[in-house]
């Protein structure tokens, strides 16, 4: 299930045949859990499946993220060391780049107002030793404020708690005893890494969304039981893996960036099955483009990102987002500069061509005027698009200010969009030491297949995959996601001064925590994959590079030599130089624990109504062309393996249109993936 802001998608996967069926319902505002239950009941009924036959449920949700963006989380307090209560408000002290010249704009307000930021005297020093004990009267007055103000949730973050959590634990114990209904989140329980601001901010996010998520999950479990569903429920996390609700509730921030991750996991899985393991995903929805690099079927990961200018540090997929989606507004500024996004018209009123009152030009309007979208077939024919409205708006907003004709305007805007998307992909590839030409571009979301061919040509990418059911990707990805947990402990020591035994002891502690969680989730031993990483940097640097370690034996054998050698090579790749003679620092030990859930079968496409030929023609301005021409239109559902389409062509399905440029070829593989081949070379599997 994928519970979004507007819609809930439920996908039922038959684990014998791999068949997929879908239900999409509009969220009712009052009771999210009831909406979900309704969708499930309907789908089971329709597919004639008994509730007891459901084996497991994986559940993705943006409830936590939306609670933050709409400021609808719990009333939250923050306990810090005394005289340090404003770490959350001061942040990095420097302004975010967008505020440097915008002197009338404010940073977003912290989630905890100052009256609820409570200092308690106590202090651990940089060695992890207690410098001052916890001051009980201070704590009791903090508890009195928390009770008086009817606070629902408390975040606790003390300096150096990642080295010694004793005071956080004392506060947690006392709070839980005094106010049993209070949510309490300790920074040391969720993020044992140095730097107090990101740690405080992440702890506050977790506390702020905890009651919201807990209420929702409890309600959902009750509803599911009422439906007769008895199987376990798993929650999808930003890391692209699932976990039990119990583990997620230890740190609800784990779900905060899970929105676009489901589709990336789905793409990695489906493309991997078809033999494509090195991918660039390109997901274009209504408001944004999300792109992520996948190497050997594993998506690249990141450790921190900002929401509303506050950092959240949780394991996450390294997804780069820009405001270039179908609803993104296209405009010309006062001096004739062409701008796309980040402002979006969203789904309502949406692009001008929806005829719902949208009076700004959007990328969807541009695509329609280019003839790339069929006005009668949009969203499976549910929305009739109005070409004349689109034309009027694009003429007024783009063509007239630039003094060019409509076709020059739309072709030009498409080119700018292509460049922005290519620039975003460059951020996750060339800027991180990877050549996009070594990857397959996977395009999905309503807009991905429209823009993929032009982007691939811009970047020199030789192959594009448009998987089947590009709109269901996220829910299917969530359904097939593995269990995933990350355990971290900061060390912060030069490698040369570190004894392998010290490291082995920490690795063992992390391992025990991982084993306990995987045991609780019932993951059998053969399905477990545990990988250790060292976050390394040159002594004196600030940004770490995660470097895989084969295991304890490797360290004992060569005393960190091969892992540091690996680090120098990675540094060279990422930053174009390395300094092997410089000392290297071990910042964090990291353990990635994965519980494989086993793959689901993919249904094989049978040749049914063999209708490989075009179903019609349409006048279209193909990207890169100077004028409209008649282009053959194919129905994707009718394509069968071994039939090759030669561009220019348009391949249509309910949720999108794939653009095939002149010189490119396209066809479907036995899984039903649409594959576009390199310019002029044809394609083969």
């Amino acid at each position: 299930m994928d519970v979004g802001g507007t819609f809930t998608d439920v996908v039922l996967v038959n684990n014998t045949t791999g068949d997929v069926s879908v239900s999409k319902v509009l969220n009712r505002h009052d009771d999210r859990a009831e909406t979900v239950a309704e969708a499930i009941r309907g789908l089971l009924e329709r597919m004639n499946v008994a509730a007891g036959e459901v084996g497991w449920i994986s559940h993705g949700t943006t409830i936590a993220t939306n609670a933050v963006l709409e400021r609808k989380g719990a009333k939250t307090a923050l306990i810090t060391n005394r005289n340090f209560r404003d770490i959350l408000e001061i942040g990095r002290f420097a302004r975010p780049a967008e505020l440097i010249y915008r002197i009338h704009q404010d940073k977003p307000r912290p989630l905890v107002p100052r009256r609820l930021r409570l200092g308690v005297a106590c202090r651990v020093d940089r060695r992890g030793d207690v410098h001052a004990d916890l001051d009980t009267p201070d704590l009791e007055s903090a508890i009195a404020v928390i009770a008086d103000e009817e606070v629902e949730s408390v975040a606790v973050c003390f300096l150096f708690s990642f080295l010694n959590p004793v005071h956080e634990e004392q506060v947690g114990e006392r709070l839980r005893a005094a106010l049993p209904r209070l949510e309490v989140v300790l920074s040391s329980e969720i993020l044992r890494e140095f730097r107090e601001f990101p740690r405080t901010s992440t702890t506050v996010f977790a506390a702020y969304v905890a009651p919201v998520l807990r209420t929702y999950i409890s309600a959902l479990l009750i509803r599911l039981a009422e439906c007769g569903i008895t199987c376990p429920l798993y929650v999808f996390q930003s890391s692209g893996g699932v976990a039990t609700p119990g583990i997620v509730m230890r740190n609800p921030a784990l779900t905060m960036l899970s929105g676009p991750a489901g589709a990336v996991v789905g793409a990695a899985e489906i493309c991997g099955r078809a033999g494509y393991r090195d991918l660039i995903t390109m997901d274009i929805g209504g408001t944004s483009l999300d792109t992520c690099l996948v190497r050997d079927s594993v998506a690249e990961t990141a450790t921190t990102r900002e929401i509303d200018m506050f950092p959240v540090a949780v394991p996450m997929l390294d997804i780069h987002t820009i405001g270039a989606g179908g609803g993104s507004v296209v405009r010309v500024d006062q001096v004739g500069g062409v701008r796309i996004g980040p402002e979006s018209m969203g789904a309502r009123p949406g692009p001008a061509c929806y005829g719902l009152g949208g009076d700004r030009a959007t990328l969807t309007d541009i695509n329609l005027l280019m003839g790339l979208i069929d006005p009668d077939g949009f969203a499976g024919g549910e929305v009739q698009l109005d070409r004349s409205r689109a034309e009027a708006v694009v003429r007024r907003e783009v063509a007239a200010p630039l003094d060019v004709d409509i076709s020059t305007a739309v072709a030009g805007v498409f080119r700018v969009a292509t460049s922005q998307i290519a620039e975003a992909i460059g951020t996750v590839t060339t800027e991180r030491g990877s050549d996009p030409r070594d990857y397959t571009l996977v395009a999905f979301g309503g807009g991905g297949p429209l823009h993929a061919a032009a982007v691939a040509r811009e970047l020199g990418i030789g192959r594009i995959v448009v998987p089947r059911h590009p709109g269901l990707f996220s829910a299917r990805g969530i359904a097939t996601a593995d269990f995933a947990h990350v355990y971290v402990q900061s060390v912060l020591r030069p490698v040369a001064d570190t004894h392998p035994d010290t490291v082995l002891a920490v690795m063992e502690t992390l391992l025990q925590r991982a084993v306990a969680d995987l045991d609780a989730e019932g993951i059998p031993g053969e399905s477990r994959e545990l990988s250790h990483l060292f976050d390394l940097r040159y002594v004196g640097q600030t940004t770490e590079i995660p470097v895989p370690v084969q295991g304890g034996a490797e360290l004992v054998r060569d005393g960190f030599r091969s892992v540091t050698a690996r680090f120098h090579r990675l540094h060279e790749r990422l930053y174009s130089y390395s300094v092997p003679e410089e000392p290297v620092e071990l910042v964090n030990l990291r353990l990635h624990a994965v519980g494989r859930v086993g793959t689901l079968p993919l249904p094989v496409t049978e040749s049914t109504e063999a209708g490989a030929g075009p179903v019609g023609e349409r006048a279209a301005l193909m990207p890169g062309d100077a004028a409209m021409r008649s282009v053959p239109v194919y129905q994707r559902a009718r394509l069968v393996p071994d039939v090759v389409i030669t561009g220019p062509a348009l391949v249509e399905e309910a949720s999108s249109t794939t653009v095939v440029l002149e010189g490119m070829t396209a066809g479907v593989d036995s899984f039903g993936n649409l594959i576009l081949g390199p310019d002029g070379k044809g394609w083969n599997l």
Partner: protein
């Protein structure tokens, strides 16, 4: 123009992305806290004439807009004809247009085959550049040579090969050789990346198109800025503001601003400012102009990316020999604080012309404190130098309170996280918090300053301060009250308490000394009597103001329930 609007949009976006990524890359690979945690460096791309095409959006205005004159001076000194592909230039000369000696400009001329068409530039504040004391930040310097090593325009690399003599000359004159080398490496590596990406653009679009786009980007920004300036009423607008003293005497020095607006042209005349100071409170014409340009960009066209065109309609006049156009051999150590005052006076003068767009003065200083010494033996020994920035608060705006405890103005260096600071330096923090009542009262309240207080747990440690707003308060606007002055105190509340002036040359600290650095607050906006009582009550409850201030400034009872 033959470059079409769409190619222009593509190229403009790409050029800004290159400048942005230069800084990100430098921060990721740097060694000094000042860069990796505090981000005290900036990048831009310039055309062959040394005009800014694209600024890194995260760059500091004071760094970026001083680069053109310094680069042009460098080219003049080295000779345009002697530039070759693979050369890397360096200088820190303030008198040709730089800031102060610790800010080192690295510039990479970019060629397509043999044709020069751009410069990739990276200016970073080095943690040490030699001179009188560690951190190279003593306000007691009376000439530039006490400040550190003076690097005239030189070639650091010739056709891709480092000049070992030049490297050695620089590294032999700074205190932290390995940090310096690591940082310099990060700086020129970012220029190499920029060069590679520019090359890709030039090969793809053709040099002619790229050059036209670069010209067009500047031209359009100039139109935009002119259109905005033309909306301001013609006239002459004046303001004055002062600095605490120059490190040699406590006599106030003045910034005098006279702005003439005629149509879309603006002349900002600073010639009435004080003579150049004997101490380090001076700046170059270029640095003063960059503070003026920042003020005008932020009230005229804050939304669009800045470049040379944003600054063209504004002419800044200075008189050689004044503190805003100091002559050799004046020390420029405190240029940052001088620039803050140029900004404050310019903004106050502009208020007469632009009304609600102007904002009240912020905390008005870099608040620079350098602490240096030797780490205790149990912490591994060795020397340390760290720079604490202790000033930050916004002035109030016409419809908003000033933000608390945040950088404002043309600089934007951040703080070192407390945990990183304590692990790297022998400091033990006792407070890092917003200080109530420091923001000036008003219909909208000035931002509150903050305190950063720490014990120095080292033998032979030394401290120097190069800051301001210790004697004069940041003024409010339109009836708003001024913000509180800054406070720099050693061992406050004890028998050994010692209040320090804003310019304090290196002084020895006894082990365990508590250093209390407290920022000035921002000025208020509008009459305090007009403040919404709900806001006063909220402020009281949140501890942004105390009961006393609620009574005295707003006539409110101290009881928040009332």
């Amino acid at each position: 123009m033959t470059v079409d609007a769409f190619s222009l949009a593509v190229l403009h976006g790409s050029l800004i992305a290159i400048a942005r990524d230069m800084k990100i890359m430098t921060m990721r690979t740097a060694y000094t806290q000042l860069w990796k945690e505090q981000g005290d460096l900036s990048c831009c791309l310039m055309n062959e004439d040394g005009e800014i095409i694209a600024q890194d959006p995260n760059g500091f205005p004071i760094h970026v807009t001083t680069m053109p004159l310094q680069l042009q001076g460098t080219i003049d000194a080295i000779g345009l004809d002697s530039l070759r592909p693979g050369d890397v230039l360096a200088t820190n000369d303030p008198f040709i247009g730089g800031t102060h000696l610790p800010d080192v400009l690295i510039a990479r001329p970019v060629f397509l085959e043999d044709e020069l068409y751009a410069f990739a530039c990276n200016r970073g504040h080095w943690a040490d550049i030699g001179g009188m004391g560690p951190g190279s930040y003593s306000p007691a310097t009376t000439d530039i040579h006490q400040e550190g090593i003076f690097i005239p325009p030189v070639k650091l690399f010739r056709a891709g090969h480092p000049d070992p003599g030049v490297f050695e000359m620089i590294m032999s004159n700074i205190r932290n050789r390995s940090t310096g080398l690591g940082d310099l490496r990060a700086q020129y590596a970012s220029c190499e990346t920029a060069q590679r990406r520019l090359h890709a653009l030039a090969s793809r679009y053709g040099l002619g198109t790229l050059r036209e786009a670069m010209t067009e980007i500047i031209t359009r920004s100039e139109w935009m800025t002119r259109a905005r300036i033309a909306e301001f009423p013609d006239g002459t607008y004046r303001a004055r503001d002062c600095l605490d003293g120059d490190g040699q005497s406590s006599r106030q020095t003045w910034i005098d601003v006279r702005i003439d607006i005629r149509g879309s042209d603006m002349v900002v005349d600073l010639t009435g400012s004080s003579e150049q100071s004997a101490g380090g409170m001076n700046c170059s014409h270029s640095a003063a102009a960059s503070a003026v340009h920042y003020a005008i960009k932020s009230i005229s066209d804050p939304e669009n990316p800045p470049n040379a065109g944003s600054y063209r309609p504004v002419i800044v006049r200075t008189r050689p020999g004044t503190l805003v156009d100091a002559r050799k051999p004046a020390s420029m150590v405190g240029f940052g604080d001088v620039c803050y005052r140029v900004l404050d006076a310019t903004m106050t003068a502009l208020a007469g012309a632009v009304g609600d767009r102007a904002i009240a003065s912020g905390s008005g200083s870099t608040g620079t404190a350098v602490i240096a010494g030797r780490r205790p033996r149990e912490d591994g020994g060795g020397s340390f130098t760290t720079l604490e920035l202790s000033s930050g608060a916004y002035g109030a705006r016409a419809v908003r309170d000033g933000m608390n405890a945040i950088r404002y103005g043309p600089g934007n260096a951040g703080h070192i996280p407390i945990e990183a600071d304590e692990m790297e330096n022998p400091l033990f923090f006792e407070a890092y918090e917003i200080v109530p009542d420091t923001g000036g009262a008003g219909r909208f309240r000035g931002g509150n300053g903050f305190v950063r207080a720490f014990r120095v747990e080292a033998d032979g440690a030394r401290l120097c301060l190069c800051a301001d707003r210790h004697e004069t308060q940041p003024p409010g606007l339109c009836g708003g009250r001024p913000g509180a002055v800054a406070r720099y105190v050693l061992d406050p509340g004890s028998e050994r308490e010692r209040v320090l002036g804003s310019k304090t040359p290196y002084l020895d600290l006894a082990p365990g000394t508590l250093v209390h650095l407290q920022s000035a607050g921002g000025g208020g906006y509008g009459n305090p009597g007009d403040r919404d009582p709900v806001r006063v009550a909220q402020d009281l409850k949140d501890g942004y103001i105390t009961g006393r201030r609620a009574r005295e400034d707003y006539g409110r009872s101290a009881d928040p329930e009332e």
